[in-house]
């Protein structure tokens, strides 16, 4: 909160003109805006992420329910664990880097100023040591959500549970070794570029393990295309496209060609929006009955999932083509020949906007007018479905004991009826 206030305050009193990356020496020497104040805000936010990550790690290690062994954990917990590891290990480096920028601004030493012996690339190294793993902070929980939704609506155990769990950790660990792929054209050594290029391609392995395992879970499953499942399947497809373009971007030659073009923008959004936001919406729709005790309109849910999927692809797929043709990003104007693609992209973005507004409407509507959910509307496994919806303040009357593996789905029913029930008294 305090950190957010600092950062928002900076926007109001004059803004920061360094771009989100704070690249030196511009940020440390030349920028005349509120760099230090903004850095303070980020610093405080960093403390909160560290504390959150620490809390998750210790809780997952030591406060599991009896019988809930490591390999019975829901996949969402595994990915939260991997995310927390990244938060704990990466955030301090960003904090100290911003501290050095502040020191340089105040005392005028030359840590990052090439004019007096410093090296601005050092800042980029330290910055991306945090900021590359940061994108895995964003995507890993999404992967966890999808790993929850897919088995539930395919009515099958998650295929290759151990591999999915370990691939999350592998992504978290490898994510720390690839930051140099943001710096291929920044003037770092070509040999370091080769190393980072190779390591970046390695990240594709655990990511692919996940995608293949989700697909294998669907295979011969009894698939129910409810709203969360639509989002999850959208995630799998879009994440695959984003991931595959990621591999091509990791090769230095291709990156030189499309660096700082719309290709990067499209790749990033396929992972972050096509991946993370789809997973987020899927998660919201999956746990909405649990969180609020209300059942939303399934018809509207499916319609909006489709609109989001179509709008997203219309908005960002043309950007791959634009970028490949050489349209740079961060410019306000573009060459005439690119207009068709830009119009498609804008149209898609508008459709995407409608797709995002719809859930806001029908989810809020369901709070007041929706039917009431039973304890376990999706007949899902997992401890959270054994408490009333919405859960009381003390989740469990007595500590539950776990006896079986996660995703122990019974043989498929013919139909998945959304369970309704009366609100329970605690």
């Amino acid at each position: 909160m305090t950190g957010g206030l600092f950062t928002l305050g900076v926007i109001i009193i004059g803004g920061v003109d360094t771009g989100w990356t704070f690249y030196t020496p511009y940020s440390s020497t030349y920028a005349n805006t509120w760099v230090i104040l903004a850095a303070t805000g980020i610093f405080i936010n960093g403390f909160s992420s560290i504390a959150t990550g620490l809390n998750f790690i210790v809780s997952i290690h030591l406060l599991r329910a009896p019988g809930l062994t490591w390999f019975r954990l829901p996949m969402f917990v595994w990915t939260t664990y991997a995310t927390s590891l990244i938060m704990v290990l990466a955030t301090p480096v960003l904090a100290v880097t911003l501290g050095l920028v502040a020191v340089e601004r105040i005392f005028g030493g030359g840590i990052f100023d090439p004019a007096i012996g410093g090296d601005p690339l050092l800042f980029q190294h330290l910055f991306w040591f945090y900021s590359h793993p940061a994108v895995y902070i964003m995507i890993l929980p999404g992967m966890g959500v999808v790993s929850e939704i897919v088995p539930c609506f395919a009515r099958k155990p998650l295929f290759g549970y151990g591999f999915v769990a370990m691939s999350g950790l592998a992504i978290a660990a490898l994510g720390f070794l690839v930051w140099g792929h943001h710096m291929f054209v920044s003037g770092q050594s070509i040999y370091a570029g080769l190393l980072f290029s190779f390591l970046s391609m390695l990240v594709a392995i655990p990511s692919a393990v996940k995608v293949f395992n989700w697909t294998a879970t669907l295979y011969k499953g009894t698939i129910f295309l409810k709203t969360p499942m639509l989002y999850a399947m959208g995630f799998i497809g879009l994440f695959t496209i984003g991931g595959l373009t990621g591999i091509s971007l990791a090769s230095i030659g291709f990156d030189m060609h499309v660096h700082d073009t719309y290709f990067i923008v499209a790749h990033f959004h396929y992972i972050m929006v096509g991946g993370m936001v789809m997973a987020f919406l899927g998660g919201v729709h999956f746990w909405w009955p649990k969180m609020t005790g209300a059942i939303y309109s399934e018809w509207w849910g499916r319609v909006s999932a489709l609109i989001v999927f179509l709008g997203f692809n219309l908005a960002f797929f043309p950007q791959f083509i634009l970028g490949y043709l050489g349209n740079p990003r961060r410019y306000h104007a573009y060459a005439e020949g690119f207009q068709v693609f830009h119009i498609m992209s804008t149209l898609g973005a508008s459709i995407l906007g409608i797709g995002y507004l719809l859930p806001l409407g029908y989810l809020l509507w369901s709070l007041k007018y929706g039917r009431r959910a039973s304890r376990n509307p999706w007949q899902a496994t997992g401890l959270e479905w054994t408490t009333p919806s919405p859960p009381p303040t003390h989740n469990f009357g007595e500590t539950p004991t776990v006896t079986g593996p996660a995703y122990d789905y019974p043989p498929a029913h013919r139909e998945l009826v959304i369970g309704e029930g009366e609100p329970e008294k605690n």
Binding site: L62, V88, V96, I111, G117
Partner: protein, 225 residues
């Protein structure tokens, strides 16, 4: 399920040892973040030492090896005392006796005082260096290092890293002294001092960590002549 029926440990834990494990593990995870917090600067140090070895040698010659050595010894003695105090607490907890309290508090007080001595020595050194114009910035006395690149400003990088890293360490020392002083006072006053065992362990771990940082800073800055 209430804390009154289970006075020795808090709600989510099964037993006192469970709670102790959580406290120690949590602090170690915090120390990992601290390692990487200093780690960012260590990366900077390594890079600049690699790029300007001569400047770092020149800079290191201006620092006093013996004062630095004395500071290291002072810190390590403090670490010993706090570790002994911790053992006394643990044994006192087992024996259910109160006799350990005075000796433990006495050691904690000395530890905090040694921390103050350390900071005194460090700030005196800062004072000397600033007096010689070696504080980085526009006033930096680069005429002393004209043989070095950038009219001697490469040496400024050494002092920049020196002040940043030792300064960050000094900040941790101040926090540590306040914590050790605080836990000493708390043990002195508490009605059931053995229940402060976990807190003392956690603070001791932090103190040892700050020592370890200095164990590395000392050779990195004072001994690269």
């Amino acid at each position: 399920m209430s804390s009154t029926s289970n006075p020795t440990h808090l709600i989510p834990y099964d037993s006192p040892s469970h709670q102790r494990h959580a406290a120690i593990f949590g602090l170690w995870v915090f120390l990992v973040t601290e390692i990487l917090f200093f780690g960012g600067m260590i990366v900077g140090y390594v890079v600049y030492h690699y790029e300007y070895p001569e400047a770092f040698r020149e800079g290191s010659r201006t620092l006093n090896v013996w004062a630095g050595g004395a500071m290291t010894a002072v810190l390590l003695l403090g670490s010993l005392l706090i570790a002994v105090a911790e053992h006394l607490t643990e044994e006192g907890d087992r024996d259910n006796s109160q006799s350990w309290r005075g000796t433990a508090v006495w050691r904690l007080a000395v530890t905090a005082c040694l921390g103050v001595v350390f900071l005194g020595l460090e700030f005196y050194e800062y004072h000397e260096l600033i007096g010689e114009g070696l504080f980085p910035g526009s006033q930096f006395a680069r005429q002393r290092f004209t043989d070095l690149p950038y009219s001697g400003r490469a040496a400024e990088l050494f002092f920049l890293m020196f002040f940043c890293m030792t300064g960050l360490h000094a900040f941790h020392m101040i926090v540590g002294i306040l914590l050790v002083g605080g836990i000493g006072t708390a043990i002195q006053r508490a009605r059931q001092p053995e229940r402060l065992g976990n807190t003392l362990t956690v603070i001791a771990l932090y103190w040892h960590f700050v020592d370890i940082v200095w164990i590395f800073l000392y050779p990195l800055f004072y001994l690269v002549r």
